[in-house]
């Protein structure tokens, strides 16, 4: 009896909590409102099932809890009822899955006009790279990394010379322009996650992963790491600043290219040594594009 009341109470609390608690989606700042929609569809369908099953159980306990002289009804199975339930469940599942897959197709294939930028993660910092005027990122690998070349851009790749290197964990993006974020990691797994953008993806050493999004409002957003990456995991922060077109152009004009960065100290010894040493076990793994 008490149990039946408690079950009903739990359902009531669950519903009220959903509507009245202060904890809900962080306000959206990207095109991925469709992900929120797919989530809401899933939420509604599963919520109805939860309420129905819990209340059914509560009612059954209320109605059929033991009273003297009561006897259960012997009913091994009921084909018709079981078929109906299977059918309804299948419809509910399809109702969740179909919109989910449609949005996923959108997530997997970036639009043609998406411009690329690169995020490089390391314990515990973010660096970025833009392809520069030629629109192509130069090849890069861990073995090219040195004090002067923190992102490991291949110094011999002509595509890389005009790449724009952004150190210090602060990245700017233009508002309302789709971007494809190419992800590399220097050391361990990381995950690029801006809660307001919804989208996220792991950075995996040895390969280039990606996801895309379109920032839809200007402002400053925190990048956090969402894949355990060691002791500093919770302190691995960066910033994305979404600018309007003029601000973005102004910011971009202040950035240095890879060639400019390397120019004054190209022949420096330590970097050379590091490169030589690394060449011995070079496999081409991790080269970009």
């Amino acid at each position: 009896m008490v149990l039946a009341i408690i079950l009903v109470l739990l359902v009531v609390i669950t519903v009220l909590f959903t509507f009245f608690s202060p904890w809900w989606f962080t306000p959206l700042a990207s095109n991925w409102g469709t992900i929120d929609d797919a989530l809401i569809i899933t939420f509604v369908i599963t919520g109805v099932v939860f309420i129905a099953v819990s209340l059914f159980m509560a009612y059954a306990i209320y109605k059929f809890h033991h009273k003297s002289g009561q006897k259960a009804k012997f009913e091994p199975e009921n084909k018709k009822l079981e078929s109906w339930l299977i059918g309804l469940t299948t419809v509910g599942i399809a109702g969740m899955l179909a919109p989910g897959l449609v949005v996923w197709a959108d997530y997997v294939y970036p639009p043609d006009d998406a411009t690329e930028f690169e995020t490089l993660g390391q314990q515990w910092a973010w660096n970025f790279r833009l392809p520069g005027k030629d629109g192509k990122l130069g090849g890069a690998a861990v073995r090219f990394i040195s004090y002067d070349n923190p992102l490991g851009v291949n110094p011999d790749d002509p595509n890389g010379q005009d790449d724009i290197i952004i150190e210090g964990g602060e990245m700017h993006l233009p508002v309302d322009k789709p971007v494809k974020n190419l992800l590399r990691s220097v050391d361990v797994l990381h995950n690029f996650y801006v809660p307001q953008f919804r989208a996220k993806m792991d950075l995996v050493p040895g390969m280039v992963t990606y996801f895309w999004f379109t920032p839809t409002r200007t402002g400053e957003f925190e990048i956090i790491c969402a894949e355990l990456c060691g002791l500093g995991h919770s302190d691995m922060r960066g910033i994305v600043i979404v600018d309007n077109a003029e601000d973005y152009a102004a910011w971009l004009s202040e950035q240095v290219t890879f060639a400019e960065m390397m120019a004054p100290e190209e022949e420096e010894m330590p970097a050379e040594e590091l490169m030589d040493e690394a060449e011995d076990n070079s496999t081409g793994e991790g080269d970009n594009e």
Binding site: M1, L3, L7, T14, F17, W23, W24, W32, A38, L39, T46, F50, M57, A60, I61, F64, H66, K71, A72, F74, E75, P76, E77, N78, E82, I86, T89, M96, L97, G100, L101, W104, Y107, Q123, I145, S185, V186, D187, V188, L189, Y193, P195, Q196, R198, K200, D202, P205, G206, M207, E222, I224, C225, L228, G230, S234, E277, N281, T283, E285, G286
Partner: protein
Amino acid sequence: MSEHHDDEMHEPTSFLTKYIWSQDHKVIAVQYSLTAIAIGLVALVLSWLMRMQLGFPGELEFIDQAAYYQYATMHGMIMVIYLLTAIFLGGFGNYLIPLQVGARDMVFPFLNMLSYWVYLIAVLVLVASFFTPGGPTGAGWTLYPPQSILEGTPGYDWGIILMLTSLVIFIVAFTMGGLNYVTTVLQARARGMTLMRMPLTVWGIFIATFMGLLAFPALFVSGVMLLLDRVIGTSFFVPEIMSLGETLDYTGGSPLLFQHLFWFFGHPEVYIVALPAFGIISDILSVHARKNIFGYRMMVWALLAIGILSFIVWAHHMYVSGMDPAFGFFFATTTLIIAVPTAIKVYNWVLTLWNADIHLTVPMLYAISFVLTFVFGGLTGLFLGNVVVDVPLSDTYFVVAHFHMVMGVAPVMVVFGAIYHWYPKITGRMLHNGMGQFHFWVTFIGTYAIYFPMHYLGFVGVPRRYFSYEDLEFIPQSANDLNEFITVAALIVGVVQIQFLYNLGWSYFKGEKAPANPWKATSLEWQTPQTPPVHGNWGKTLPEVHRWAYDYSVPGAPDDFISQNTPRQPFEKLEEAGEIDPDPTPLYPDTRGHTTAEETS
């Protein structure tokens, strides 16, 4: 089956062979369970420490980042492998399989004994890592490389090596036990115990064991390979990387390969824990509702379907891992399909309560709370399985809340329910009811208070595996208050578990003497000539089975249950002859026992 053989049970005579180096499945079951509970207590304490850091950051000064990640890693691994897997298969599997199928013991008793002792070694190796320089590994329970084997990760020196070694040893132990369980179910059933008359508990454990035998090898090889990467510098899982400012010697390995192998084991593992729980709960519900489990055959097929499907859903743990995202279409579809047989099980549990005669005993309270918790956790699993919905939620507290509901609280509810249910048979004494009721209410409401609100932190986007949330702008201040509340709830729930252990000990000495069949259950373990059952279980003659395990409240029967070894009754013959109302939906003959093949032979 010579009489001569039946007379000699080879009972052990000395204390050592009876309780320590025992080959009796019942003793081994208790050994397995007590060891699992003991190591589970370690996991419980670790969870308190983690919750202290999350609810009251900085209050306990000895918890730094390294310690926090070590607690998280060890808590997860202990709960999943060393507690839940061990107690369901090594504990309940060992105790219940021979008794429920009507066998004298497991078919390979010596191997069975070995299985326990090897398991104990695995546990000791794991515990040893707490006492090594650098402590246990803090790589997260998934042990993802490269991080898990890099210098700078807690437990780099010994922790990770001992963890992997312990896992490999555990799998050896499991394989010895597992082969035994499967063979016993297939070969040692009593006369008349057809597969479709077995209690669902046996079905659940049987299929789970089979899955374990297929899934654990994936963990075994990935464990060995990771160990080689760590110790002798092979590059199975580690590509060219730079750590602590130096380029390491690794080259060409794939971190994703480890993840695939890990989850190829890891997802079936969820069901290796869940299926025994499903089976046990079906039986507890049926017994205490005095009603046959609804849709028995569908329940068996659903178990089988879940078992098979669970091998092709693993990459739903990897939607944002960087694997080819096109895989998402396939794995989302298979994952949501598995919801259908799972839903069937839920429907049949709740339909078993309909038109029943529900006795709200402590095991029944746990069974019902399991259904609620499992429904909650199963439904939130659909969010995470539905690929694109997983994107914002993965690696947030929504995931933590989900898997604790579905794989933590739900199976633990079953463990409690099962202990309250079978304790009288195991010890000959009843557990104290008042303590049991108190334990139940605090645990049920407490765990809901812990994990239910946690889902909403996930909606906010609060990331998991964070030592602290300082200066994260998107997280509202109120989330800290919620974290405090959750911590307090967790501490309370934890303390009540100590009271449960006290009940186990107290009742063993002072509990009310248990009758042979206190719940008036039909299955064979309640029909043993002695309680607790002695070596060999059945005395001189093995039981003979004449019906399924769910003849509760059969129309025309004098009692509201007919045990499986009761021959066909006169009223049942009348029923067949059409002189009284037959079952509303007649079963296949071999399910309930209306064939006469065995009886006439």
